[in-house]
């Protein structure tokens, strides 16, 4: 197990290195001087400019710049975000936990909801319920992320004002609330974006799990269980689900990119202060270092996520663990 982990981490390091090369190429292939946005900006102090010049060797030949770039990355330095007037890694470090929170809740919620829907569909396979749920699943699966978010915002903050209009906390009152009120305030602001992201991610899980369950059902051990006299429900619960859950774990790893992309739009529309909102805002301000930092961080997240999922898979499948 440990050797497997070490090997995967090694692969991940290679991947991140390649991503760094890609982003470096992106920075320098773009028209105009890549750092001019920062260097020519009067809002950036001379001290910062001098530091950047030293760190990235901006007047040096390209290969040397590349080496310095990778070196800086290895130390966690991602350049200067002039729109935030702080180092990029500082901006992302503050924003990342908010995105992770959203994604974590959506991950758990969407898998729970998706598996539930799949179970219902399989229990009544072929019936109208099955077909209707399939259609609804497909409908939500095909929806653009931002569209659902807009509709959700409209429906639940405007037509039926149940939730606050965006943000993570009440901008005015939060500082002055007691601990209990603060927790409630945070949860209230978290509810709608998390719910929306869950609804966006659930259909993939539902469709996948339904297919997985249907694949398993004809298997020999299921037939044996039926002959033994177990009810359909028990069969589903005891045998089918357990075996069909295994491929779900691999879906966890695969769902990270989609969750991250979904989080981007959700954060923009709900003004949720996460990594997605930071990058989307960086588009408007042409804060290129921040965008690139976001790309690298996103890739690291996805890579780590897939490693995690793979580890989970190996742990969960007794057949693999024996190896």
């Amino acid at each position: 197990m440990l050797r497997y982990l070490a090997r995967r981490l090694g692969q991940a390091a290679v991947i991140v290195a390649i991503v760094a090369t890609i982003t470096f190429a992106l920075i320098h292939l773009a028209p105009g001087d890549p750092f001019s946005a920062v260097m020519d900006n009067p809002n950036v102090s001379e001290r910062v400019r001098a530091t950047l010049r030293a760190q990235y060797g901006l007047d040096r030949p390209l290969p040397e710049q590349f080496v310095r770039y990778v070196n800086q990355l290895a130390h966690g330095e991602m350049g200067w975000s002039f729109s935030h007037d702080r180092p990029v890694q500082a901006v992302l470090a503050t924003a990342l936990p908010n995105t992770l929170l959203l994604m974590a809740i959506a991950l758990v919620g969407s898998f729970g909801l998706g598996i539930l829907i799949a179970l219902i569909q399989v229990a009544r396979r072929g019936s109208t319920t099955d077909h209707t749920l399939s259609a609804i699943s497909l409908f939500f699966f095909s929806m653009p992320d931002f569209w659902l978010a807009i509709l959700a915002l409209l429906a639940f903050t405007y037509w039926v004002p149940l939730f606050p209009v965006g943000g993570a906390v009440d901008p005015v009152m939060h500082e002055y609330m007691g601990l209990g009120a603060r927790i409630v305030d945070r949860l209230w602001h978290l509810a709608l974006p998390a719910l929306t992201l869950t609804v966006l991610a659930a259909p993939t899980v539902a469709r996948f799990q339904r297919a997985a369950l249907l694949d398993v059902l004809p298997a020999d051990y299921i037939r044996t269980a039926r002959l033994k006299g177990l009810t359909e429900r028990e069969i589903l619960r005891r045998h089918a689900l357990r075996n069909a859950l295994l491929p779900i774990i691999s879906l966890v790893g695969l769902s990270f990119p989609a969750l991250l992309t979904g989080a981007f739009f959700i954060e923009k529309i709900f003004a949720w202060p996460g990594m997605g909102l930071a990058v989307v805002n960086a588009i408007g301000t042409r804060d290129y270092p921040l965008v690139v930092g976001g790309v690298i961080l996103g890739s690291i997240m996805v890579t780590l996520g897939s490693i995690l999922a793979d580890l989970l898979y190996v742990w969960a499948d007794p057949r693999l663990r024996a190896n």
């Binding site: 020519d40 809002n43 001379e46 007037d85 965006g166 209230w188």
Partner: protein, 567 residues
Amino acid sequence: MAPVKRGVLLCMALLCACVGTESSSGKSRGGTLVISTGGDPDVLIPPLLSTVQAGQISDMVYERLADIGDSLNTVNDAGFTSRLADRWTWSRDSLSIAFHIDSGAKWHDGRPVRSSDVRFTFQSSTDSTLGSGVKALVSNIDSVTAPDSATAIFWFHARTPRQFYDATYQMPIMPEHIWKVIAPSSWRGSDPAKHPIGSGQYRFVRWIPRAVVELAADTANYRGAPKLSRLIWSIAPDFNTAVTRFLSGETDFFEVLRPENLPEVAKHPELRTKQYRGLAYSFAWFNLRDPANHSRPHPIFGDRELRRALTMATDRAKLVRSVYDSLALPALGPAVRAYPTTDPNLAQIPFDLPRARQILDSLGWRLNAEGVRERNGRLLQFSLLAASTSKQRVQLAVLLQEQLRQAGVKVDVEQLEFPVLVERERKRAFDAAIGQWNTQPSPGSIRGSWGTMGSRASSGTNYSSYENPVFDAYVDSALASFDPAKAKAYFTRAYETIIEDAPAIWLAEPLPTVGYHSRLQLAPLRSDAWWAHIPEWWIPPDKRIPRDNAPGPTMSAPAESAGKKTP
């Protein structure tokens, strides 16, 4: 408000009510004003700021020597009220004014305000390493001397009607002891820039970028404490959210309602609106210089006849009606109707599409197969920048794009965030852009945005690079004359000149409409700064809502704290 939130706040309010609130001199102190705004302040340093939000916050934290009167008179000192200076004396020859600093004036850190602070403020504002746009506006002031700690004397080059205005309006006073240790080129990112110390009636509390700016009443202020104990700017990521926060009751004030918001406001009985005469005008200005080589004229816009033709091809009245409905008038030119020196009947370039087409043809721009005009292999095509943060400016750009398409001009609209747009303009790296000036009370501010000086100086804001010595001469003559009728005549000539030269398509003069919660008792809204009298706004105790009674930050002076407890 969500039921749970309401419940929690109600409990807090009950607790506060049980403990008792402060009351003094009938009109009680207290209350919170939450202003809904769609933009972050750029920098809280008076000579450097350029956003409206930064100006509002700065005006609460910092003070000027004297404040302009509500009538916005800028000739001599009629109507001005004392602030940091409790009295002033003109010299015999009127070439100097001696201001006496109020002896009780203190900075928020406790140090007394001295005349050396005034001198320092002037020196910094005119220091070219700081690069402030104020320098161009105070060119008539030769120097400021401080013979003693309470007297600051302003020395002028020449006697002009605006001496007093120049000395007071342009420069909120900054504390020398804090800023002199930092080199001007490093002011922007410095620590004091993020925690400004001023002498105004509100102290700075906190600024969370893109989220909140909070000010608290300076209860020990030498001019007395303001009525409202807290000011909060709630910064929304976009206009829509800002309006929704206002409509939902999360905020109390919204400064720029659009026509489509008015029906919504009408549905809320606790909200009101108020309109006032504004000092802003918007335009689509052309870069008269070649972005690739500043010493050459722009390949398209260097031609005066072409610019006039483009103006002629635009139905400006319709444009303004479409975007603003009844909340704006078509702009006359680079001047607002609120100025007494503006002639409301200024001759305009008429809307005449056929004639515009004729002119373009005669200039050699012929329609090609795709319907775009061409001359010597160059297409009549340019990019028009608009600040993505202002939906109205984007709308103006898209409407303009279509109108000019009718004339065979291809316009590409590019949306940028406001600070990026300003950067591009500053570097003259643009073709055309939608802009808006919130002008100052003095019509002389036109020199900075359309005068030759504003084009040449590195800190000037004449990004269009319009330079016409005839225009400059008329403006200077107008500003030098003490006779209002003569001043108006000169300005009329100046405006006519620039309108004929068409360095921009003049678009709209908005009639600002604010929305506010009915419990707020407002003071008159000054045209140049609706926020100027915020220290006089108050909320009757019987109308207060829970948010008004929330405890302030611990920076309140001791006299205030008796009776108020944290729930």
